[in-house]
Amino acid sequence: MKVVLVKRVKPLPLGGLVIPGASIVIGVLISTVVLYVISRADPLVTLSCVASALVSPEIVLTFLFLTILGAALLVAFNGSIWNIGAEGQLWLGTAAATYIALFTALPQAPAIAKVAMVLTAMALGGTWAAVAGVLRAYLSIDEVPVTLIMNYIAYYIINYLVRGPWLGKKTWGYIRTDMIPDQVKFTLLPGSTTVTYEVLIIAVLALIAVYFMLKYTSLGLRIRILGSNPDALKAAGVNVRALIITALTLSGAIAGAMGATQLAGYLHRISYPIESHTANYGYTAILVAWLSMLDIRAVPVAAYIVSALYQAGISMQIAGISSASATYVFIGAVLLTFTVLRVFSEYSLRIIRG
């Protein structure tokens, strides 16, 4: 008797709903068992932390950040360009916005300054991603290690700035920049202490722009063909090199915009060192992009679930049930289950006798 993996004639019906759904349930159950075995966390408490996170207002900001980053990653991922560098791109966006807010005269005109913060953040994030694009396009160097390594270069560049030229004057001994001026801080939504109008607008714009770009423009069509059949593109005379660079640049630019919203809406300053202060949204967003199965309409759903898991880990830590690590266990278990289960949307298992 053999177990054989056979390609389906048609993808699994409703696979786009069933498979992510099943992965989340199985992943959370695995995490619950792991947390019980190693940390003696009561399974009922773990599950109730997850359940209450699903309706917690605390997750809105994380949800919006992950939505923007998910949209950013989808631009590249749809072309089979694996941008693992959103983390560095978004932090450079934060740095660019900090520069505008603290070291130029623009904050005198707050409206212009806010726009400039987002635009420079997009420019820097895009440029940073474009470096990996150029290396991939002209030297066929795999973008995965390059984008990943560039995250760390970005961290240390910003650390250098924050410890050196950007070190604040009123920091009470902490190593961090000064607070950005009040007039360039983004405007909080009524009743919220973290969510701003601007981050909401940028999230909606990013979703709509990426949706239209991928679905209705020739650039979007080319990116999608780049993901499925790059040889056809070359045969059709498309400049594949320019296409790769464009896709990565757009991806990095949107990630950079998220970095600006993170600064002006929430952090208001950069603290040293980045690697201990980052929420790792750039890496977590990879899970969002995967769970969406590269369909932009599913990005908000995926972002909602991932932000709830993220929050569940934090509330378990606050309740003293587990350390900061529970979040990672949730994310790792769901992502691993999903990566494997996803195979079954296009393949099925058959048992053959004899």
Binding site: V4, I84, I153
Partner: protein
């Protein structure tokens, strides 16, 4: 300090980076892209710490770290070779799991340690600080590196590992069992990664949540910068170990910012990748042709 002790101080960092990047490079030669490295490295450290406390023996810690790393290596290899899945996605999920499990295991062990101290039991550990131990920390990893190099270029197994990394389909038609060869490469490679992570504790000698995070990526950069060549890796591991050990001394003596010192391994790694792909070095040091590519035919037994 005299010259010899300056050199010897680098030994723990060298051992940790070299063993880890050696294992990483050898494993990736078999064609599986390994992004789990940082997570497994962090988990290895936590497991080594925990097992040392529970057993009162650092050697048990070493064995436990090696075993844990190998289990995750085999999981990664099996899933990526048997199923048409993205190597990057599996690797990153194992990275997240590694970070998470490391925290859970390490915190549990630290609580046990604190309880032991409260009840008057002080677990005794002697970390190797003698010059001879430090010489061995250079010699044993370097010896393992030479052995692995010979294995890679002189034996049938080595040829098979390189073959499945370059073109697994061609290798299959020559009668090589791709899964078996990759699993062997994973067992060997991840043993070294596990040993490297345990070795990291001889450098920092303490554990708190997040210990070792990012150092796995430095080992990744060490391996990339040397084009995954076991002998060249001695050079990059040595250079980056010196940078890491003397970061603050360099700052005092040459005004080199620690941030720049931390950045150098990553910049060198990208520079090396560019060099290897754009010069004749490509023949020897370019990544395996099938690195990270899905290995799948239309139908197969699981």
């Amino acid at each position: 300090m005299d010259a010899a002790s300056y050199v010897l101080s680098v030994a723990p960092a060298f051992m940790a980076y070299y063993l880890t990047s050696l294992g990483q490079g050898f494993f990736e030669k078999s064609g599986v892209l390994n992004l789990s490295i940082d997570g497994v490295f962090v988990l290895g450290i936590a497991v080594a710490y925990a097992a040392s406390i529970y057993s009162c023996s650092p050697w048990v810690g070493l064995a436990a770290a090696v075993l844990t790393a190998v289990i995750f290596g085999i999981l990664l290899t099996y899933v990526t070779t048997k199923f048409p899945v993205s190597h990057g996605a599996v690797g990153l999920s194992i990275m997240f799991l590694g970070y998470g499990l490391a925290g859970l295991v390490g915190v549990a062990a630290r609580n046990t340690y604190n309880e032991m101290v409260v009840s008057g039991i002080y677990p005794q550990f002697t970390l190797p600080v003698t010059p001879i131990a430090k010489v061995l920390m250079f010699a044993i990893p370097a010896g393992l590196g030479i052995l692995l190099y010979l294995l890679e270029v002189r034996t049938k197994l080595g040829a098979a590992v390189r073959a499945v990394g370059e073109d697994p389909h061609a290798a299959t038609s020559l009668g090589i069992d791709v899964l078996r060869v990759r699993l062997i490469a994973a067992a060997l490679g991840y043993s070294l990664i596990g040993a490297g992570s345990a070795g990291f504790l001889t450098w920092v000698a303490t554990w708190s949540e997040g210990t070792g995070i990012n150092h796995g990526w430095i080992a990744y950069a060490v391996s990339l910068a040397a084009g995954r060549h076991p002998l060249l890796t001695v050079g990059t591991a040595g250079a980056f170990a010196i940078l890491a050990t003397y970061m603050y001394t360099l700052q005092a003596a040459y005004n080199l910012s620690p941030e720049i010192a931390k950045m150098i391994p990553f910049i060198v790694a990208i520079g090396a990748m560019v060099t290897f792909m754009s010069t004749p070095l490509r023949k020897k040091l370019a990544p395996p042709q099938s690195l990270g590519k899905r290995f799948f035919k239309e139908e197969r037994t699981v």
